[in-house]
Symmetry: C2
Subunit: 333 residues, 2 copies
């Protein structure tokens, strides 16, 4: 009797959870191919008795962050954080006024920064991301994200997340998926705010990492961030990051650049129904238009191979009825 | 109305979930100090309005595996797997008959193995754990765990998990905790069976790791296990592994050896109510008796410092009414 009652309650609860699904869980998605591909896929893997049915614990969906969940132009948001941090730290580092690549970063000298290359970028990253405890860094990232504004849209970066993607994350979770971020960005930069902004808890964020060391300082245990790269969660690193953190092959992977190519490839090569999606930034009016030639979020090989691989190209222009949440008057429109 | 109904249903569902708690969720724990400490702690962090109340998403509990969730004597189970694998592979490696440390491993020559030291062990580990895809290794681990038997108890290793710990894991989950394994053992060795045996899914297993490489072989994407250590999840590595994978400080940490010292230290140094526990293997009759002098699962510093640190020593003899699940007639009793 108790068991029957529990089942009934569960069924009722599930019915209520599914109620919003009936009322279009993806209102910011236009009635266009991408939306159809998504709902077809979710129906297939969640319908009991369907040959593509997948049990709840195996429903894993992975999302790139920069350019997939939020804006990555005119530069990666984390890079804006680096530049702001350098300015804040400059008074304690008078030598940076003459020393590259710090000088270039402080002066916004793009050309000199370009010349400093990857090695220069690493120096800037380590100067701003290492040498403090994990708790201190989380505080810095949270403070910055709470106050910084995007140069074009003049809104906090956390409001420049894509409304259709927020709906998709919620829709997948309502259908039993665990949603993960798998980003080339720094794991510690994202974790302080992903739960509030995306509903993705810190333990479901996979990203690039620097080395960490456990220490007891004056009797107080701390984790200290070391100036050394531990893992780059980009390109062929993404399937590796997924294996390390999740240990299961995802059912759905959503990216927007060639940095996501291997993540989609690995995901969609799995047996049964899988879905790979690439957001194509083709909407310079509402957001940005870029692909094969972009410094940030370059999408080239993915565009070439999507059809052959069966990946869904999501056109921002065609597939998204709206772009940002709470769409009030926005700069640049 | 709908909302009220939903709340009512939720309340009813919660009430039902809690019903077993009333009927003693920890029947294999004796009415002794450890059980009291556990239930007091869980009550404190889950009672709304309590000053120690912690919201569900932050309820993280971490467990060592070897010697905490299952038997680690007469040797780590993963080492038994290594030795069995070497025997299976020996016919393809005639050179091992003369070459150390393989010769010693094949002959069970403990002395020569000891002489080979950590470097020798690494060679054995790499010979058996690298050079295949992640999927192939998962198959090998799953096959072995399904057939291997413990030398003393003559039962599958997966039946030599501790019944009181299974109850504790379930009790914590029923109270909104996410339960994690944080083990010095290999993450890929554990993941194939932890969900079935402990109810802990692969994404909640943290362990030592070798390097992985993503490759496309004959058009098929695979993840290949590389003969190089990527991360040792032991001692000071445990808080680092927790930070990498979870990104939150746990509320509860349960271990049994000095390899768990820093995990308990990091956990219990957090603000609010925290619980650190160390299982003391003091029951040679029902299981094994070992601590300060043991090769596997040595517990020395932890015993010395537990009182000062406020950690709960769990005496197998005193605190556990039963040790293994489905306690039929067992060898060695």
């Amino acid at each position: 009797m108790m068991r029957i009652l529990k089942r009934l309650l569960l069924a009722l609860t599930l019915a209520f959870s599914l109620a919003p699904a009936v009322a279009d869980p993806l209102p910011s998605w236009s009635d266009a191919p991408a939306k159809q591909a998504i709902t077809d896929f979710v129906d297939a893997v969640t319908t009991e008795g369907s040959e593509d049915f997948v049990p709840v614990p195996e429903r894993i969906a992975v999302f790139d962050n920069d350019g997939t969940l939020w804006v990555e132009q005119p530069m990666y948001t984390q890079l804006a954080f680096v530049l702001d941090r350098l300015k804040e730290m400059a008074s304690e580092h008078p030598e940076w006024q003459e020393q590259q690549p710090y000088k270039a970063a402080l002066e916004g000298d793009q050309e000199a920064l370009g010349e400093a290359g990857m090695e220069g970028l690493m120096k800037l990253l380590m100067a701003t991301h290492a040498g403090m405890t994990s708790a201190e860094f989380a505080g810095l990232a949270a403070d910055w994200i709470g106050t910084a504004r995007h140069p074009r849209f003049e809104r906090p970066y956390t409001e420049l997340v894509y409304q259709p993607m927020l709906e998709l994350l919620e829709y997948l979770r309502a259908n039993g998926f665990k949603t993960y971020i798998v980003s080339g960005g720094g794991i510690a930069f994202m974790r302080p705010w992903t739960e509030q902004v995306y509903g993705i808890p810190p333990e479901q964020v996979v990203g690039s990492q620097i080395e960490l060391a456990y220490e007891v300082q004056d009797g107080k245990p701390v984790i200290v961030r070391q100036p050394e790269i531990a893992f780059i969660d980009d390109k062929a690193g993404k399937p590796v990051g997924i294996m390390r953190h999740i240990g299961r092959r995802p059912l759905l992977a959503f990216g927007n650049s060639d940095g996501d190519y291997q993540m989609l490839e690995w995901t969609t090569a799995g047996p049964g129904s899988r879905l790979g999606l690439l957001l194509h930034h083709d909407d310079g009016e509402r957001e940005y238009a870029y692909d094969r030639e972009s410094h940030f979020g370059r999408l080239d090989r993915g565009l070439d191979d999507a059809a052959e691989k069966g990946w869904q190209i999501v056109s921002m222009k065609r597939d998204w009825a709206s772009v940002f949440p709470n769409a009030g008057p926005q700069a640049g429109q």
